[in-house]
Amino acid sequence: MSGEYLLSDLEVWDEKICEIAKGYGLDWHPIAYETVNYHEMIGAMAYHGLPSHYAHWSYGKSFERTHFMYNAGAEGLPYELIINSNPSIAYLMLENPLYLQILIMAHCVGHSDFFKNNRTFRDTDPDNVTQRFRNAKKRIQGYIEDPSIGIEAVEKVIEACHAINYQVDRRGRTRPSEKELKAKYTRLVKDDKKGEWKHFSLEKVPLEPEYDVLRFVLENNPTLSDWQRDVISIIHEESLYFWPQIRTKVMNEGWASFWHYRILHDLELSDEHHIPFLKTHNAVLRPWGLKINPYHLGFEIFKDIEKRFGLEECFIAREACNDENFIAQYLTEEKARELNLFTYSPKGRKNPDWTIDDIVDSEESWIEIRSELVKSIAGNMIPVIYVDEMKKDKLILRHEHDGRDLELDYAENCVKLLGNIWHGEIKLFTELENESFEIS
């Protein structure tokens, strides 16, 4: 611990924080705080806070980049890092002053409560997550060290999976079985009175668009060896574990900020702690201008819900919503105007100026801004790619185009990488500048 406080001070503050939080009805997993130094902190960050994680050079790169950016003064370190597990593992950097540790601990209580109660997380199995990642790490390490496999081959599979790992079913829906699907479409074709299903082939694979590309590969590439399957399943599972966090970023940060603010207020800190706390709070919860700050937006919406409907409603929202319906349901035109939301876009193709298109000055402009806002949160900035059809070993992917074109260079490389785990030809259909475009 840095000179001015002791571990026992943290325990004293933690007790007070927990008491206040319980009084409000927060219900969280027990939190295990790990005290770390700067290097351990960026080490933990590189692996998303997970105590064990499989090896890949991209995590080394992530470490180097954080280290570089931090030392170049371009970025501060995040104040808090907590993972969705039971107990929730959170990191406290030894270099932090005491007031910041207090803020972080209160913030973590908010996150842990959110992880435990928000229904988006219901299938993440937080009790076993650290064990699962530890086992996965061991198995992948085994493949790397296996002389008949080796690091190059393992990296090939990992890189293919990393290129496509967000293209799983992001909503975590339970998928009907093959049999159920077959029955459903057989019925539709059979009872077809209007001829709508005349051209539908019951032999089509898959019968419905498959949004889980990794799983489709797992189930339909017979040439994969056991270890390749295992690596793909590990990354697939990790992706499903992280998606709920992507889908609730605004709410989760908003909720944690909402609670750290209230708890620190109730703690009646002395000026020595209170003034730097307010400074930090204001720095974290400020609008970012050209980008949406999830802490700021979420915090402001929760405050507004409390003002309009009472604290009870905040608890209902934190349990039932994800960012998409949270904004649809609770962000009002008035609040959006107060937050000075606006849309802007590049005018022209080559190195253009970007100018403001809409500000909240009418219902139409508000609706427009809201629909663009929804596109930029909840993982909607990650393109949706799905398996449309498999013809023999040819894989046909489609991009669900919503007005935004794919970055071509990236898309081409992803398709190329996917070839590392697919045995046949791959085609991806998308739109580019309003014309259909094919990548293969």
Partner: protein
Amino acid sequence: MSIFREHKTTADRSASDRARHKQKIEKAIKEGITDVVSEESIIGQDGKKKIKIPVRGLKEWQFVYGHNEGQKQVGSAPNTDIQEGQIVRKGQQQGQGSGNRAGNDKGDEFYEVEITLEELAEYLFSSLNLPELERKKLRTVLEEKPRRHGTRPQGIPPRLDKRESAIQRIKRLAAARRAGTVEVDEEGNEVFPFHDNDLRYHHIKARPKEATNAVIFFMMDVSGSMTQEIKFIARSFYFLLYQFIRHKYEKVEIVFIGHTTEAFETDEDSFFKRGSAGGTHVSSAPELAIQIANERFHPSAWNVYAFHCTDGDNWSEDDTKAFDMYRELSDISQMTGYCEIKPPGSTPAWQKDNSRLFRDLQGLHPSVRTSILNSKEDIWPTFKKFFGGEL
């Protein structure tokens, strides 16, 4: 109540992933090297100059959106003074390419690695050897450098060999223990100070230092058939050669020889930029190189390297003489490299095959190396072929 615990850190957990990442960067640097060298002047670099290397192949690919025209983003202004049509981002700030995508920008900048030419040479050349370096017996003694040569019991304090002295003391301690003569203090610790007899000093001897000077002859066909593209490849290749040889020798001189049917000594600038009309007598270049070597860089004192880039379009009546000249040149040089640069499209169909000279040179002498370069991607492989030891 929460749990507080110190992080169980057994090791620097990301160390091996960082090492693997570094390996990948080094590989990418080697692959990207030709993009760098084309910008640089060959000589007059002191090695401390920093150059930027775009490191490719380390991107992590994901599906991301680009920025098509009219595609909107959402912002949240700190103040109310916003209005439609207001410019929020100037075009210039965007930089090249497609700009702001899913947090990749910063990572990209990071991967323009800045290193000095010296470091670059270290990266590139650590695994390569100069061939035939030991072949020559005739090396003039340029200077005498003092070198360490064993240890002695007498000497001056600055030359104390601490390690050897400590070993002597330990030997004596072991003997004393066996004899049971080691003193013990009140707390039971052994007291056993150094004795004068333990001390050992480095012995310094002046040893002749071999001449490690090198001269490189860069020869190039500057006739009309040499296109800019060919010269570009030649230039990149020569840049690498220069850096490499300079890396291995203390002093390196360069002679540029251009030729059409006749050869002439020139400077770097005109060597690469100026073209001449006329035909081609390849033989003229080695002939002039031999002459210059004998006059100014006598092979008894200098390590001679000679490299020749041409498009392979030699006039046939010169082939025999060219071969003879090469034989003579290879006798006085550590290495002779002959490259035919043939980018697709710039080579007439009747000339697709390697020239007769190329084929003849292949069997001439192990110190004569030949290579065909079709594009700049062939530069590094050729380089490795020339210097990578066993072929």
